[in-house]
Symmetry: C2
Protein backbone atom coordinates (compact mmCIF):
# COMPACT_ATOMS: atom_id res chain seq x y z
CA UNK A 1 0.00 0.00 0.00
CA UNK A 2 1.61 3.28 -1.06
CA UNK A 3 2.00 6.11 1.38
CA UNK A 4 -1.18 8.09 1.60
CA UNK A 5 -1.15 11.72 0.57
CA UNK A 6 -3.55 12.52 3.37
CA UNK A 7 -2.35 15.35 5.54
CA UNK A 8 -1.52 14.99 9.20
CA UNK A 9 -5.05 14.31 10.39
CA UNK A 10 -4.78 10.66 11.39
CA UNK A 11 -6.34 9.95 14.76
CA UNK A 12 -3.54 7.71 15.99
CA UNK A 13 -0.05 6.46 15.27
CA UNK A 14 -1.60 3.03 14.62
CA UNK A 15 -2.76 4.33 11.27
CA UNK A 16 0.72 5.60 10.46
CA UNK A 17 2.28 2.26 11.30
CA UNK A 18 -0.42 0.34 9.43
CA UNK A 19 0.45 2.25 6.27
CA UNK A 20 4.15 1.33 6.42
CA UNK A 21 5.26 -0.64 3.35
CA UNK A 22 5.20 -4.41 3.92
CA UNK A 23 8.47 -6.23 4.51
CA UNK A 24 10.12 -3.47 6.56
CA UNK A 25 9.59 -5.29 9.85
CA UNK A 26 8.58 -3.41 12.95
CA UNK A 27 10.53 -0.19 13.27
CA UNK A 28 11.60 1.28 16.60
CA UNK A 29 9.17 3.84 17.95
CA UNK A 30 10.03 7.29 16.65
CA UNK A 31 12.04 5.95 13.72
CA UNK A 32 9.17 5.18 11.38
CA UNK A 33 9.99 6.57 7.92
CA UNK A 34 11.53 9.92 8.90
CA UNK A 35 10.34 11.57 5.71
CA UNK A 36 6.85 10.13 6.00
CA UNK A 37 3.76 10.87 7.94
CA UNK A 38 5.38 10.39 11.36
CA UNK A 39 7.84 13.12 10.48
CA UNK A 40 5.06 15.35 9.21
CA UNK A 41 3.03 14.78 12.37
CA UNK A 42 6.08 15.60 14.47
CA UNK A 43 6.81 18.77 12.48
CA UNK A 44 3.18 19.91 12.68
CA UNK A 45 2.95 19.25 16.42
CA UNK A 46 6.25 20.99 17.19
CA UNK A 47 5.23 23.97 15.07
CA UNK A 48 1.88 24.17 16.89
CA UNK A 49 3.59 23.81 20.27
CA UNK A 50 5.97 26.64 19.36
CA UNK A 51 3.00 28.78 18.28
CA UNK A 52 1.14 28.20 21.56
CA UNK A 53 4.27 28.89 23.62
CA UNK A 54 5.03 32.07 21.68
CA UNK A 55 1.42 33.30 21.90
CA UNK A 56 0.37 32.21 25.37
CA UNK A 57 3.42 30.95 27.27
CA UNK A 58 4.26 27.71 28.99
CA UNK A 59 1.50 27.97 31.60
CA UNK A 60 -1.11 27.73 28.83
CA UNK A 61 0.47 24.93 26.83
CA UNK A 62 -2.12 22.20 26.54
CA UNK A 63 -1.72 18.97 24.55
CA UNK A 64 -5.32 18.97 23.29
CA UNK A 65 -4.93 22.55 22.01
CA UNK A 66 -1.64 21.66 20.31
CA UNK A 67 -3.27 18.62 18.65
CA UNK A 68 -6.17 20.74 17.38
CA UNK A 69 -3.86 23.41 15.95
CA UNK A 70 -1.62 20.78 14.37
CA UNK A 71 -4.61 19.02 12.81
CA UNK A 72 -3.50 15.84 14.54
CA UNK A 73 -5.58 13.48 16.67
CA UNK A 74 -5.37 14.07 20.41
CA UNK A 75 -4.62 10.38 20.95
CA UNK A 76 -1.52 10.64 18.77
CA UNK A 77 -0.20 13.59 20.73
CA UNK A 78 -0.98 12.09 24.15
CA UNK A 79 0.50 8.71 23.22
CA UNK A 80 3.62 10.12 21.62
CA UNK A 81 4.51 12.96 24.02
CA UNK A 82 2.39 12.29 27.09
CA UNK A 83 3.10 15.60 28.84
CA UNK A 84 3.66 19.23 28.02
CA UNK A 85 7.18 19.07 29.43
CA UNK A 86 8.07 16.14 27.15
CA UNK A 87 6.75 18.21 24.25
CA UNK A 88 8.80 21.27 25.29
CA UNK A 89 11.86 19.02 25.63
CA UNK A 90 11.38 17.69 22.09
CA UNK A 91 10.82 21.20 20.75
CA UNK A 92 14.12 22.27 22.34
CA UNK A 93 15.90 19.23 20.85
CA UNK A 94 14.50 20.21 17.47
CA UNK A 95 15.61 23.83 17.97
CA UNK A 96 19.11 22.58 18.90
CA UNK A 97 19.26 20.45 15.73
CA UNK A 98 18.20 23.42 13.62
CA UNK A 99 20.59 25.82 15.33
CA UNK A 100 22.53 27.58 12.58
CA UNK A 101 26.16 26.54 12.03
CA UNK A 102 28.95 28.78 13.19
CA UNK A 103 30.67 31.10 10.74
CA UNK A 104 34.41 31.51 10.07
CA UNK A 105 35.31 35.10 9.25
CA UNK A 106 39.00 34.75 10.16
CA UNK A 107 38.90 36.96 13.27
CA UNK A 108 37.52 36.51 16.77
CA UNK A 109 35.60 39.78 16.57
CA UNK A 110 34.11 38.89 13.19
CA UNK A 111 33.04 35.43 14.32
CA UNK A 112 31.65 36.47 17.71
CA UNK A 113 29.91 39.45 16.18
CA UNK A 114 28.16 37.10 13.76
CA UNK A 115 27.18 34.93 16.73
CA UNK A 116 25.89 37.96 18.65
CA UNK A 117 23.90 39.13 15.62
CA UNK A 118 22.33 35.68 15.30
CA UNK A 119 21.28 35.66 18.96
CA UNK A 120 20.04 39.25 18.70
CA UNK A 121 17.96 38.59 15.58
CA UNK A 122 16.46 35.50 17.19
CA UNK A 123 15.48 37.32 20.39
CA UNK A 124 14.19 40.35 18.46
CA UNK A 125 12.06 38.19 16.15
CA UNK A 126 8.49 38.38 17.43
CA UNK A 127 7.69 34.66 17.35
CA UNK A 128 11.15 33.35 18.20
CA UNK A 129 11.74 35.91 20.95
CA UNK A 130 8.43 35.00 22.59
CA UNK A 131 9.27 31.32 22.20
CA UNK A 132 12.64 31.75 23.93
CA UNK A 133 11.07 33.72 26.78
CA UNK A 134 8.48 30.95 27.15
CA UNK A 135 11.00 28.09 27.22
CA UNK A 136 13.16 29.97 29.73
CA UNK A 137 10.07 30.48 31.91
CA UNK A 138 9.31 26.77 31.43
CA UNK A 139 12.85 25.94 32.61
CA UNK A 140 12.21 27.98 35.75
CA UNK A 141 8.96 26.12 36.45
CA UNK A 142 9.87 22.57 35.56
CA UNK A 143 12.96 20.40 35.98
CA UNK A 144 12.39 18.44 32.73
CA UNK A 145 12.13 21.64 30.76
CA UNK A 146 15.23 22.90 32.59
CA UNK A 147 17.23 19.82 31.50
CA UNK A 148 16.08 20.25 27.91
CA UNK A 149 16.99 23.93 28.02
CA UNK A 150 20.45 23.13 29.40
CA UNK A 151 20.97 20.62 26.57
CA UNK A 152 19.88 23.21 24.00
CA UNK A 153 22.48 25.71 25.22
CA UNK A 154 25.20 23.04 25.44
CA UNK A 155 24.64 22.18 21.77
CA UNK A 156 24.50 25.82 20.74
CA UNK A 157 27.62 26.84 22.69
CA UNK A 158 29.56 23.79 21.40
CA UNK A 159 28.70 24.77 17.82
CA UNK A 160 30.42 28.15 18.27
CA UNK A 161 33.37 27.10 20.47
CA UNK A 162 35.68 26.47 17.44
CA UNK A 163 35.62 30.24 16.78
CA UNK A 164 37.39 30.71 20.11
CA UNK A 165 39.74 27.77 19.62
CA UNK A 166 40.75 29.24 16.25
CA UNK A 167 41.32 32.65 17.86
CA UNK A 168 43.63 31.00 20.43
CA UNK A 169 45.52 29.28 17.58
CA UNK A 170 45.90 32.65 15.82
CA UNK A 171 47.23 34.18 19.05
CA UNK A 172 44.26 36.53 19.52
CA UNK A 173 43.39 34.98 22.89
CA UNK A 174 45.81 33.39 25.40
CA UNK A 175 46.35 29.64 25.66
CA UNK A 176 43.90 27.97 28.02
CA UNK A 177 41.00 30.30 27.17
CA UNK A 178 37.71 28.62 28.10
CA UNK A 179 35.93 28.59 24.71
CA UNK A 180 32.50 27.90 26.18
CA UNK A 181 32.84 30.79 28.64
CA UNK A 182 33.62 33.20 25.79
CA UNK A 183 30.65 32.03 23.70
CA UNK A 184 28.33 32.33 26.71
CA UNK A 185 29.73 35.80 27.45
CA UNK A 186 28.52 36.94 24.02
CA UNK A 187 24.95 35.79 24.64
CA UNK A 188 24.63 36.73 28.32
CA UNK A 189 24.05 40.50 28.02
CA UNK A 190 21.52 39.99 25.22
CA UNK A 191 19.43 37.55 27.25
CA UNK A 192 19.87 39.64 30.40
CA UNK A 193 18.51 42.71 28.61
CA UNK A 194 15.51 40.82 27.30
CA UNK A 195 14.67 39.16 30.62
CA UNK A 196 15.17 42.13 32.93
CA UNK A 197 13.79 44.93 30.75
CA UNK A 198 11.32 43.05 28.57
CA UNK A 199 12.91 44.77 25.55
CA UNK A 200 14.58 42.80 22.77
CA UNK A 201 18.26 43.58 22.27
CA UNK A 202 19.12 45.65 19.18
CA UNK A 203 22.06 45.31 16.74
CA UNK A 204 24.12 47.85 18.74
CA UNK A 205 23.69 45.66 21.84
CA UNK A 206 24.92 42.69 19.80
CA UNK A 207 28.05 44.52 18.67
CA UNK A 208 28.78 45.74 22.19
CA UNK A 209 28.35 42.19 23.54
CA UNK A 210 30.82 40.81 20.97
CA UNK A 211 33.36 43.59 21.61
CA UNK A 212 33.11 43.08 25.38
CA UNK A 213 33.65 39.31 25.10
CA UNK A 214 36.64 39.80 22.79
CA UNK A 215 38.22 42.46 25.04
CA UNK A 216 37.80 40.31 28.16
CA UNK A 217 39.09 37.17 26.41
CA UNK A 218 42.09 39.03 24.96
CA UNK A 219 42.86 40.34 28.48
CA UNK A 220 43.01 36.72 29.66
CA UNK A 221 39.86 36.80 31.81
CA UNK A 222 38.66 33.43 30.50
CA UNK A 223 42.14 31.84 30.67
CA UNK A 224 42.81 32.73 34.30
CA UNK A 225 42.03 30.09 36.89
CA UNK A 226 38.46 30.81 37.97
Amino acid sequence: MPESDAEVESESDAEVEASAPPGEGTPEPGTVRPGGRTARVRAAVLRAAGDVLAEHGFAHLDLADVARRAGVGKTTVYRRWGSVTALVAELLRDMAEQSLPRVDTGSALGDLRANAELVQRTLADERQGALFRAVIAAGVCDTHAAAALRHFYEVRVAEWEPCVTAAVARGEFPEGTDAGAVVRAVSAPLYYRMLTTGAAPDPADAHQAARAAVAAAAAGVYAAPR
Copy 2:
Protein backbone atom coordinates in the same frame (compact mmCIF):
# COMPACT_ATOMS: atom_id res chain seq x y z
CA MET B 1 -8.64 54.01 71.33
CA PRO B 2 -5.06 52.78 71.59
CA GLU B 3 -3.58 50.59 68.92
CA SER B 4 -4.49 46.99 69.52
CA ASP B 5 -1.69 44.50 70.10
CA ALA B 6 -3.57 41.92 68.08
CA GLU B 7 -1.46 40.38 65.33
CA VAL B 8 -2.16 40.82 61.67
CA GLU B 9 -5.45 38.94 61.62
CA SER B 10 -7.87 41.79 60.99
CA GLU B 11 -10.42 40.96 58.34
CA SER B 12 -10.26 44.33 56.60
CA ASP B 13 -8.32 47.58 56.40
CA ALA B 14 -11.39 49.32 57.85
CA GLU B 15 -10.44 47.97 61.25
CA VAL B 16 -6.91 49.31 60.88
CA GLU B 17 -8.17 52.75 59.98
CA ALA B 18 -10.81 52.68 62.74
CA SER B 19 -8.05 52.08 65.28
CA ALA B 20 -6.03 55.15 64.23
CA PRO B 21 -5.57 57.60 67.10
CA PRO B 22 -8.13 60.43 67.07
CA GLY B 23 -7.07 63.84 65.79
CA GLU B 24 -4.76 62.65 63.03
CA GLY B 25 -7.21 63.47 60.27
CA THR B 26 -7.73 61.12 57.38
CA PRO B 27 -4.40 59.84 56.06
CA GLU B 28 -3.75 59.06 52.40
CA PRO B 29 -4.32 55.43 51.50
CA GLY B 30 -1.17 53.43 52.05
CA THR B 31 0.31 56.01 54.41
CA VAL B 32 -1.54 55.00 57.58
CA ARG B 33 0.94 54.80 60.46
CA PRO B 34 3.89 53.18 58.65
CA GLY B 35 5.09 51.44 61.81
CA GLY B 36 1.63 50.26 62.75
CA ARG B 37 -0.68 47.49 61.74
CA THR B 38 -0.87 48.49 58.06
CA ALA B 39 2.89 48.14 57.81
CA ARG B 40 2.78 44.81 59.63
CA VAL B 41 0.05 43.53 57.31
CA ARG B 42 2.08 44.65 54.29
CA ALA B 43 5.24 43.00 55.59
CA ALA B 44 3.43 39.75 56.40
CA VAL B 45 1.70 39.65 53.00
CA LEU B 46 4.89 40.41 51.06
CA ARG B 47 6.79 37.77 53.03
CA ALA B 48 4.06 35.21 52.32
CA ALA B 49 3.96 36.18 48.63
CA GLY B 50 7.74 35.74 48.44
CA ASP B 51 7.44 32.34 50.10
CA VAL B 52 4.76 31.15 47.67
CA LEU B 53 6.75 32.43 44.67
CA ALA B 54 9.95 30.80 45.90
CA GLU B 55 8.23 27.49 46.67
CA HIS B 56 5.72 27.18 43.86
CA GLY B 57 6.41 29.88 41.25
CA PHE B 58 4.32 32.63 39.74
CA ALA B 59 1.79 30.31 38.12
CA HIS B 60 0.69 29.10 41.57
CA LEU B 61 0.55 32.48 43.28
CA ASP B 62 -2.96 32.87 44.69
CA LEU B 63 -4.19 35.79 46.80
CA ALA B 64 -6.29 33.59 49.12
CA ASP B 65 -3.30 31.34 49.79
CA VAL B 66 -1.08 34.36 50.47
CA ALA B 67 -3.70 35.77 52.90
CA ARG B 68 -3.92 32.46 54.76
CA ARG B 69 -0.13 32.14 55.07
CA ALA B 70 0.18 35.76 56.18
CA GLY B 71 -2.56 35.33 58.79
CA VAL B 72 -4.42 38.23 57.17
CA GLY B 73 -8.04 38.35 56.08
CA LYS B 74 -8.66 37.57 52.41
CA THR B 75 -10.73 40.75 52.08
CA THR B 76 -7.76 42.86 53.15
CA VAL B 77 -5.51 41.28 50.55
CA TYR B 78 -8.09 41.47 47.74
CA ARG B 79 -8.98 45.08 48.56
CA ARG B 80 -5.42 46.26 48.91
CA TRP B 81 -3.68 44.40 46.08
CA GLY B 82 -6.53 43.15 43.91
CA SER B 83 -4.42 40.92 41.67
CA VAL B 84 -1.38 38.67 41.84
CA THR B 85 0.51 40.92 39.43
CA ALA B 86 -0.13 43.97 41.66
CA LEU B 87 1.22 41.93 44.56
CA VAL B 88 4.33 40.87 42.58
CA ALA B 89 4.85 44.51 41.58
CA GLU B 90 4.73 45.62 45.23
CA LEU B 91 7.06 42.80 46.24
CA LEU B 92 9.56 43.96 43.60
CA ARG B 93 9.24 47.59 44.81
CA ASP B 94 9.95 46.35 48.33
CA MET B 95 12.95 44.34 47.08
CA ALA B 96 14.26 47.43 45.26
CA GLU B 97 13.93 49.50 48.46
CA GLN B 98 15.80 46.87 50.43
CA SER B 99 18.51 46.45 47.79
CA LEU B 100 21.85 46.75 49.59
CA PRO B 101 23.83 49.98 49.11
CA ARG B 102 26.87 50.01 46.86
CA VAL B 103 30.34 49.71 48.36
CA ASP B 104 33.38 51.94 47.79
CA THR B 105 36.62 49.97 47.85
CA GLY B 106 38.65 52.54 45.89
CA SER B 107 39.05 50.45 42.72
CA ALA B 108 36.72 49.45 39.91
CA LEU B 109 37.62 45.78 40.29
CA GLY B 110 37.05 45.87 44.06
CA ASP B 111 33.70 47.60 43.73
CA LEU B 112 32.39 45.51 40.84
CA ARG B 113 33.62 42.32 42.46
CA ALA B 114 31.63 43.23 45.57
CA ASN B 115 28.61 43.83 43.35
CA ALA B 116 29.12 40.49 41.56
CA GLU B 117 29.45 38.67 44.89
CA LEU B 118 26.22 40.25 46.10
CA VAL B 119 24.35 39.13 42.98
CA GLN B 120 25.94 35.68 43.17
CA ARG B 121 25.04 35.18 46.83
CA THR B 122 21.48 36.30 46.16
CA LEU B 123 21.01 33.92 43.23
CA ALA B 124 22.72 31.05 45.10
CA ASP B 125 20.54 31.53 48.19
CA GLU B 126 17.81 28.90 48.06
CA ARG B 127 14.85 31.15 48.84
CA GLN B 128 16.08 34.29 47.11
CA GLY B 129 17.33 32.43 44.03
CA ALA B 130 13.95 30.74 43.63
CA LEU B 131 12.23 34.08 44.17
CA PHE B 132 14.30 35.75 41.43
CA ARG B 133 13.63 32.91 39.01
CA ALA B 134 9.91 33.23 39.80
CA VAL B 135 9.75 37.01 39.29
CA ILE B 136 11.68 36.72 36.02
CA ALA B 137 9.23 34.05 34.87
CA ALA B 138 6.41 36.36 36.00
CA GLY B 139 7.94 39.14 33.89
CA VAL B 140 7.86 36.84 30.88
CA CYS B 141 4.18 36.00 31.45
CA ASP B 142 2.74 39.35 32.43
CA THR B 143 3.32 42.96 31.32
CA HIS B 144 2.62 44.43 34.80
CA ALA B 145 5.17 42.12 36.37
CA ALA B 146 7.57 43.00 33.52
CA ALA B 147 7.25 46.73 34.29
CA ALA B 148 7.85 46.09 38.00
CA LEU B 149 10.87 43.94 37.18
CA ARG B 150 12.28 46.64 34.90
CA HIS B 151 11.87 49.19 37.70
CA PHE B 152 13.61 46.86 40.15
CA TYR B 153 16.67 46.56 37.90
CA GLU B 154 16.72 50.31 37.16
CA VAL B 155 16.89 51.02 40.90
CA ARG B 156 19.52 48.37 41.50
CA VAL B 157 21.72 49.41 38.56
CA ALA B 158 21.45 53.11 39.53
CA GLU B 159 22.62 52.25 43.06
CA TRP B 160 25.89 50.83 41.69
CA GLU B 161 26.53 53.27 38.84
CA PRO B 162 28.64 55.62 41.05
CA CYS B 163 31.29 52.86 41.22
CA VAL B 164 31.78 53.27 37.49
CA THR B 165 31.61 57.07 37.58
CA ALA B 166 34.32 57.04 40.26
CA ALA B 167 36.45 54.69 38.15
CA VAL B 168 36.15 57.12 35.22
CA ALA B 169 37.20 59.99 37.53
CA ARG B 170 40.22 57.94 38.66
CA GLY B 171 41.14 57.29 35.03
CA GLU B 172 40.50 53.54 35.21
CA PHE B 173 37.84 53.71 32.49
CA PRO B 174 37.68 56.17 29.57
CA GLU B 175 35.52 59.29 29.61
CA GLY B 176 32.00 58.64 28.35
CA THR B 177 31.80 55.10 29.76
CA ASP B 178 28.15 54.07 30.10
CA ALA B 179 27.96 53.34 33.85
CA GLY B 180 24.69 51.41 33.63
CA ALA B 181 26.06 49.19 30.85
CA VAL B 182 29.07 48.25 33.00
CA VAL B 183 26.90 47.42 36.03
CA ARG B 184 24.58 45.32 33.88
CA ALA B 185 27.59 43.56 32.33
CA VAL B 186 28.58 42.32 35.81
CA SER B 187 25.18 40.76 36.47
CA ALA B 188 24.44 39.40 32.98
CA PRO B 189 26.63 36.25 33.01
CA LEU B 190 25.42 35.32 36.49
CA TYR B 191 21.75 35.51 35.52
CA TYR B 192 22.44 33.85 32.15
CA ARG B 193 24.10 30.90 33.89
CA MET B 194 21.19 30.50 36.28
CA LEU B 195 18.50 30.78 33.62
CA THR B 196 20.09 28.60 30.92
CA THR B 197 21.66 25.88 33.07
CA GLY B 198 19.38 25.92 36.13
CA ALA B 199 22.54 26.05 38.28
CA ALA B 200 23.25 28.96 40.61
CA PRO B 201 26.46 30.86 39.85
CA ASP B 202 29.37 30.26 42.24
CA PRO B 203 31.91 32.75 43.66
CA ALA B 204 34.38 31.98 40.84
CA ASP B 205 31.69 32.95 38.32
CA ALA B 206 31.21 36.20 40.21
CA HIS B 207 34.91 37.05 40.08
CA GLN B 208 35.12 36.19 36.39
CA ALA B 209 32.06 38.37 35.68
CA ALA B 210 33.65 41.33 37.50
CA ARG B 211 37.02 40.88 35.77
CA ALA B 212 35.35 40.62 32.36
CA ALA B 213 33.31 43.81 32.90
CA VAL B 214 36.41 45.70 34.10
CA ALA B 215 38.55 44.48 31.16
CA ALA B 216 35.87 45.43 28.62
CA ALA B 217 35.23 48.82 30.25
CA ALA B 218 38.97 49.59 30.45
CA ALA B 219 39.27 48.70 26.75
CA GLY B 220 36.61 51.35 26.03
CA VAL B 221 33.86 48.94 24.97
CA TYR B 222 31.21 50.83 26.96
CA ALA B 223 32.49 54.26 25.94
CA ALA B 224 32.42 53.61 22.19
CA PRO B 225 29.35 54.74 20.31
CA ARG B 226 27.03 51.77 20.27
